[in-house]
């Protein structure tokens, strides 16, 4: 708590003499607010805002060998040159295609399953609701690295599971469905719990009325429960889109076991490769900025859609 004094000192207006009691109350509240908010404000600045600006700055420079190359590399301003490099790089294109396919397959399956299961558990006929919701939720508690490891073992030829599938889950064409399955396994339960929690806030008298009007379970679910939790579904969609675009750990873990995952398989792997293997910070920063931009645009789009729907 001692770290926050500088921030407080700079952002509080200079005390202008002693004021009366009510003013003192308000000032006390304002000062307490600053004290309580400062630790997070500092963290947000140092670990999010400054890095974002720094990435923007880095993305405009590249390392050049100066003169005859005696004095080592020096940073040279190349404006949008790194962006041009990234946007014309076929490896980046391939990573975008992979993540786009992943998003298009994973999100409908995962959120569809989550919603379906939430509606099932919420339906009147179900016993042992707690058992079902907890067991489906458990994979969320498994670290993604370990999720990847468990499934990669299940995907290897002698595990018994791989033999049941019509394709090789670690082969060139099987790798995308395999990664979709890993992410789906991990996230279905979490989103199911979010939806189920929202469903329980649906007023019971509305459901009673629907039942009195002769609506069956499926019809009540589809035309009353689903529309009422639509805002929750849009929030879940935004978070899933942001998370899916960052796809990194699953392909990286699989990479240790199969050559089907390239070192630039997803945009995040591309950034990792550019920064920490190729050492090209400018190109990595430009790719990071593009990734953040796409993710911001997509979440803005989803939120606009949700605002229009709820109007």
């Amino acid at each position: 708590m001692t770290v926050l004094t500088p921030e407080r000192a700079t952002s509080t207006p200079a005390p202008a003499g002693r004021a009366g009691a009510p003013v003192r109350g308000r000032r006390g509240r304002s000062r307490a607010g600053l004290v309580l908010a400062a630790p997070f404000a500092i963290l947000l600045t140092v670990t999010v805002l400054v890095p974002v600006l720094y990435a923007l700055y880095l993305s405009l420079f590249t390392d050049r060998l100066s003169g005859l190359g005696f004095s080592g590399p020096r940073q040279a301003f190349i404006a949008l040159g790194n962006y041009a490099d990234v946007l014309t790089d076929s490896a980046f294109h391939a990573s975008l295609v992979n993540v786009a396919l992943f998003v298009l397959i994973h999100i409908p399956i995962m959120l569809g399953m989550a919603l379906g299961l939430a509606l099932l558990i919420d339906s009147a006929v179900v016993r042992l609701k707690r058992l079902w919701s907890l067991s489906v939720f458990l994979p969320y508690a498994v670290p993604t690295v370990i999720t990847g490891l468990i499934w990669v073992y299940l995907y290897t030829p002698n595990s018994g599971l791989a033999g049941l599938l019509p394709f090789d889950p670690l082969g060139k064409s099987g790798i995308l469905p395999s990664i979709v399955n890993i992410a789906t396994w991990q996230w279905v339960g979490y989103n199911m719990i979010i939806f189920y929690t929202a469903l329980q806030a649906v007023p019971r008298d509305v459901l009673e009325a629907a039942r009195a009007d002769g609506a069956g379970g499926i019809r009540t679910a589809w035309s009353i429960k689903v529309p009422m939790i639509r805002p929750t579904m849009f929030v879940a969609l935004v978070f899933t889109v942001i998370g899916s675009l960052q796809l990194f750990t699953e392909p990286l873990v699989l990479r240790g076991f199969t050559g089907s995952v390239t070192s630039t398989w997803s945009p995040s792997l591309y950034v990792y490769e550019a920064a920490f293997i190729a050492g090209d910070y400018g190109r990595a920063a430009a790719a990071s900025v593009l990734l953040a931009l796409v993710s911001a645009l997509l979440s803005a789009l989803v939120m606009r859609l949700s605002a229009r729907r709820s109007r």
């Binding site: 004290v35 908010a37 404000a41 974002v52 006929v125 907890l134 969320y140 979010i194 990286l252």
Partner: protein, 305 residues
């Protein structure tokens, strides 16, 4: 509802689902639909739990049994030997990984959720300059993809000479914008303005009021923030991967990943990776099961908005 590849391999679900919708009004349809619903739930639970059961059975097998017995069958009981090998490998570095994970996640989540509580409470209940701007920045912070931050954070840490240290991983993971958002919701819902007014009339200072009155009232919500931040840090992988080179500072996820990259060349790493994974999963599963009442009610309060 679309089924995942694993669940789709069993044929029971589509056939059973069809019969329920075809004749919903016949006598006994309630019984049928109840059966169908439960069959679907059993399938979904099996999909979720079977890989975890595989983890348990595999952790008890020797390297030989692991490749010769099928996935869900027990071989010769070898868990003790596996654990012994796990904790002696590389001079017992796994013990350090457990300690590190507990430090990063435990300390990080305690501090992080307190910081969230303070900020969320301040935004909800106290007027201070920059309040709106801070809340807007917090919401924007929720949306910034963390993988886009890894490189600039790494370079900043390099310049501050903290790269490769505990702090390079610990500090960035404290930042939890979504936790602040939730804390604001909890403070709004759980701390009535009249009680704060009463405390003020009694002459209690604002900070004292927060720590002795508001914080206890926000407790159920804070358990939720704590638990989810704990999982977030425990499961985080990208940041330690980028920041750390000394295996003694690794959290379990990074250490197990590093061992896993050797498995194809050295199969004897398989039991280490699998037994280690089991140990990394058990505490979280236990925590979620034991605390489920708290986090469920916390999520409920958060989702109502």
């Amino acid at each position: 509802m679309t089924l995942s590849p694993a669940a789709a391999t069993s044929e029971a679900s589509p056939r059973a689902g069809g019969s329920a919708t075809r004749n919903p009004r016949k006598a006994g349809s309630r019984w049928t639909s109840r059966t169908v619903v439960h069959v679907l739930l059993v399938l979904a639970s099996l999909y979720a739990v079977l890989p975890l059961i595989w983890l348990v059975t595999s952790a008890t097998k020797s390297v030989g049994d692991f490749s010769t017995t099928s996935a869900f069958e027990f071989g010769e009981w070898n868990l003790g030997a596996n654990l012994g090998a796990l904790f002696t490998q590389e001079n017992g570095v796994f013990l350090a990984w457990i300690r590190n994970s507990l430090l990063y996640a435990g300390l990080g989540a305690v501090l992080g959720s307190l910081i969230c509580a303070g900020c969320g409470y301040a935004i909800a209940k106290l007027d201070f300059p920059g309040r709106r701007a801070l809340f807007a920045a917090t919401l924007a912070g929720v949306l910034v993809p963390t993988t886009a931050l890894a490189l600039p954070l790494y370079l900043l840490a390099t310049q501050l000479h903290v790269v490769g240290t505990f702090w390079a991983v610990f500090i960035p993971l404290l930042t939890n914008p979504f936790g602040v958002y939730l804390a604001r919701v909890y403070a709004d819902a759980a701390v009535p303005g009249e009680i704060l007014e009463a405390a003020r009339t009694d002459g209690a200072g604002e900070l004292r009021t927060f720590f002795t009155i508001a914080l206890p009232m926000m407790r159920p919500g804070l358990v939720t923030i704590f638990l989810f931040q704990f999982v977030g840090i425990w499961n985080n992988f990208f940041l330690p991967l980028v920041m750390l080179t000394d295996p003694k500072l690794f959290p379990m996820s990074l250490g197990l990943y590093q061992w896993s990259t050797r498995v194809t060349q050295f199969p004897q790493y398989s039991p280490l990776v699998i037994t280690g994974s089991l140990l990394a999963v058990v505490p979280l599963v236990v925590a979620f099961v034991l605390l489920h009442r708290q986090w469920r009610s916390g999520l409920a309060a958060g989702s109502v908005k």
